[in-house]
Amino acid sequence: MPKKSTSENNEVINKEVPIVTKVYVLYTGGTFGMKPDLSKPGHPFSTMELDELRRNIPEADKVAPGAKVKLERFDRLLDSSSMTPNDWVNIARKIEKNYENYDGFIVIQGTDTLAYTASALSFMLENLSKPIIITGSQLPLPNPRTDAKLNYGHALMIAAYKATDLPRIPEVIVVFADKVLRGCRTRKMSASSWTGFDTPNCPPLGEIGEHVRIFENQIRPAPATGLDMQVNSALDPDVLDISLYPGLRPEHLEAILSLDSVKGVILRSYGTGNAPEDPKFLDALKTEIEKDNKVVVNITQCPQGSVEMGLYAASVGLMDNGVISGLDMTPEAALTKLMVTMGSRIGDQVKLQMQINQRGEQSQNLFDFNLKTTGMTGKPFSDFIVPDRRFDPAALSAAVLRMKNVKF
């Protein structure tokens, strides 16, 4: 919450001298800052220069009195469908460089991969105590019907939380149309509708109507004071994301999985995590998991829902072959989380961290304890004695006991 003066006249003072909030805005590319080029046939879109952009966006003081905006743009503007992990690193670096000097951040980009950028930044930025808002638009700024001004205005109100007296959201969030959404839960739901984004597996963090309402009980707590923001910029992009479909040949899958450059796999399975029971298909996965210790994360290709491995026969096969569960993570979150985790952890730690909630991207934590017995004493022991400080036996909601190789 913004600090308020203890003066008896504080209300009057506040109205006349609003609290200054400094907001850093980065335009990376996308429809938002486009304009039709009337000099060319067909009027293809071209991008606006910084000055033109500055003239077109709503004035900060009119949106949120007290907000001071610093606008920058990438020299090389990016079409969002051409964005890559390197670009996420560049955005994170920009934020890191300006982190101390600003109260809130707005990143503007194209909508196609907006959810990926939001998810990637969520995992890359650790100990975040300031709002990082990702937004964009379906129509360019100069278009009279544009949603760019609305989205930008709302983003600015939330970023300039001190000036607008809104709650501080210390997270990477997406502000688009009438919703304030958690970045690592956001999915693109439609290519052309105004309300193109949603978080199907979690409630929104706020609603935008006549007023901007933030649901404070949904916001994750800020890190303890003294913890500095850090950027995990060592992404490992060697991740394959593949969606199952009827008719997918196990041979085709194997051809790709066996590439040395594929180190992690996001497997978008059906329903609650079901995959074909075809032994050839399962063998292809098993070989790669066992041979090269590749990480295969199972998520659902349904826009809504969660993986519940072991529920039906069709998913038991995956589990038995070492595939780990992505629970209710979105494909965007699973992919970027795996890239960040593989860049910063090694070995079984990757699998362990993947199944633990890091930024609110999944509803549960999963800890696998594999009991083994030594030949000498016959005493069982586990791979991970204490897997993580986040393992709290008191918060345990369910434990699944699966036994293999039991002989009667």
């Binding site: 469908s81 051409s82 739901m189």
Partner: protein, 614 residues
């Protein structure tokens, strides 16, 4: 009771020891009701056999323990003598010698070799062995290598319905007598042709039925196909043909009688392929595919207020396991029954890949379809009282009786969606599918409101032109930031690859910059004569905009745009178009260098309402 009857009736009327023989005990399999009391009675009698001075003989292919219906209790644990009448063993010198006895050849070695060759070919099956033996003797065959042509001739004749066709026919009859098990039996026979199938976790009734067919035998706790003759006769063609013949009329016997409110009752054919809606809660708490498809009808007798039913337990598959061959089989199952007087068909299917199967079947049946084919699934099994299995089935069956919706549709919650427009959106809530690119064809409310302005009107003169081939060699990749095009290289090296589908994030945009650019991959595929389809995860009604380079570059490189189709409809259409174009090239109707353009043209054409907006 039974003991009293034997003791006071038979024992007092007949003198001396009595032998009571029960022949063909396997017949109990055919009764879906409780038959264990027969064995219980025999057990009770056996306990008194000394006092009665009676012996009991049970004759059959299966051991009584395999014919018990309740698995939880009652083994057939009486200390009887089990006399196994095995087939002849070609490895047993005495058997070979015994058969060779009756054969005249030039020397003893040939005599034995001929007997052994025959026994190996027949697997020792008594009827086949003696039949070939007689035939060989009649033809005065002197060398063992002349047996093979004889066997081939026998199989050939049998396939044409001549010779000993009746022998093979009986296996088919036995399988078809058990329509609710046919799919499982065929699955095991199919697998047993390749390698032994362990019997360990096989369901008792399936196992017993398999033994009764005589097609397989148990060796080392696994089923193998009995003989080389059976292996060549019961081939994949035979299996497919048999699968197509599955079906049964559903009897209303024992069900509460339902009044028909108006008009004569219509006839609806239900084709079951598996999935949640067909699951059954077993007494032991496990949810399993039903032993018997009539489970629907016993659970929901009020279905008969809607129509009369025939049921086709075509397969029991989790929908994750569905493949293009299954689509063909479902389409053909409908096609074959098109003139059987049904007002419509209901296809029961798991929800995961329902949009794919429904789309594929819609293409296969084409625009000559003049009755409703209704796909239906559910999120919960029928035993969940508040669930959607019952209500979805009721609604689907009702839609199948309608005359004004001659299309392949999916009934989901309150809506009737066109098959080639439906997509899955949710795996938890009941309204789990939607059709964002096209309005629903109907709304199920108090009345079933069919949106007449959008339902296709079939040309009355058209007949169904079944085109059920689908490519097995299409690879689909969904784009995501960070996809290294190098990952896709191995795909192009697959020799039989027929097509690639790239699912874009926006409306046809792909990465075009630096090492992440997908353009070289597309160009390489095109130059290898492999068509590339550009689909969208978010289909929209407008034509793809070519204003941005990322959207126009892949098209310039030769990719085919299909961004206004629902993803399952685009994938299955591509798989459906490819073999047809291939066929046309083969027959000279299309030049090979026109392949890409023809595919593009077909993808743009509207076959069953998959393209375009309202």
């Amino acid at each position: 009771m039974i003991v009293t009857f034997f003791a006071e009736f038979f024992r007092t009327r007949l003198k001396g020891p009595i032998v009571v023989a029960f022949d063909e005990i396997d017949v109990v399999q055919l009764y879906h009701y409780y038959t264990d009391n027969f064995f219980e009675a025999v057990r009770a009698l056996a306990a008194q056999r000394d006092a009665l001075d009676m012996s009991f003989v049970l004759i059959g292919l299966n051991h009584p323990k395999d014919l018990f219906k309740t698995t939880s209790s009652g083994a057939f644990n009486i200390s009887g003598l089990h006399i196994a009448l095995d087939d002849f063993d070609a490895e047993d010198a005495a058997t070979v010698d015994a058969w060779a006895q009756g054969y005249s050849a030039e020397n003893d070695a040939d005599r034995l070799a001929i007997a052994k060759t025959i026994l190996i070919a027949t697997g020792g099956q008594p009827f086949l062995t003696s039949w070939i033996f007689d035939k060989a003797r009649k033809n005065a065959i002197q060398k063992p290598n002349l047996i093979a042509p004889l066997v081939e001739e026998l199989i050939e004749d049998a396939k044409n319905g001549e010779g000993i066709a009746a022998h093979f026919q009986s296996a088919r009859d036995i399988i078809l007598e058990r329509p609710n098990l046919t799919f499982r039996i065929m699955e095991i026979v199919e697998n047993a042709r390749e390698k032994p199938v362990p019997v360990a976790n096989m369901r008792g009734d399936v196992r017993a039925a398999l033994v009764s067919t005589g097609v397989v035998r148990e060796r080392n706790r696994a089923f193998v196909v009995k003989s080389p003759i059976y292996r060549s006769f019961f081939d994949s063609e035979w299996i497919l043909d048999l699968k197509k013949s599955i079906g049964m009329a559903v009897s209303t016997e024992g069900l509460p009688f339902f009044e028909i409110t108006r008009g004569p009752k219509k006839q609806v054919c239900i084709i079951n392929t598996g999935g949640m809606i067909s699951m059954e809660l077993r007494p032991d708490g496990i949810i399993d595919a039903p032993h018997d498809l009539t489970v629907f009808f016993r659970k929901f007798p009020d279905l008969f207020a809607i129509a009369d039913f025939d049921a086709v337990p075509l397969m029991f598959k989790d929908s994750s396991n569905m493949n293009p061959d299954d689509w063909s089989l479902i389409a053909e199952a409908i096609y074959q029954r098109r003139d059987d007087g049904y007002s419509g068909f209901v296809v029961v299917h798991g929800t995961d890949t329902l949009p794919h199967t429904a789309s594929a079947v819609a293409y296969a049946l084409g625009d000559g379809l003049n009755f409703p084919v209704v796909f239906v699934g559910s999120q919960t099994a029928p035993h969940v009282i508040h669930g959607d299995a019952r209500i979805n089935l009721m609604r689907a069956c009702t839609v199948a009786t309608l005359e004004n919706i001659p299309e392949v549709v999916a009934v989901v919650g309150d809506h009737i969606h066109r098959a080639v427009r439906v997509q899955k959106k949710d795996d938890y809530r009941f309204e789990g599918m939607h059709s964002p690119t096209f309005e629903p064809l109907g709304i199920i409310a108090d009345n079933i409101e069919i949106n007449k302005s959008v339902v296709r009107q079939p040309d009355k003169l058209l007949e169904i032109d079944l085109r059920k081939e689908f490519s097995h060699n299409v690879f689909k990749v969904g784009l995501y930031p960070g996809l290294d095009p190098q990952f896709l290289k191995p795909i192009l090296e697959i020799t039989e690859l027929e097509g690639v589908i790239i699912e874009t994030l926006g409306i046809g945009n792909v990465p075009v910059e630096g090492k992440w650019s997908l353009i070289p991959f597309i160009e390489e595929a095109i130059s290898a004569n492999i068509p590339v389809l550009l689909a969208s995860q978010f289909p929209i009604q407008t034509e793809m905009t070519a204003k941005y380079e990322p959207a126009s570059a892949p098209l310039a490189a030769g990719a085919i745009g299909a961004v206004n189709m629902a993803p399952p409809a685009a994938v299955t259409k591509f798989m459906w178009v490819l073999p047809q174009i291939k066929e046309r090239i083969k027959s000279g109707k299309i030049r090979d260098d026109r392949k890409r353009d023809e595919i593009a043209k077909w993808m743009d054409l509207d076959f069953v309402g998959e393209v375009g907006s309202h």
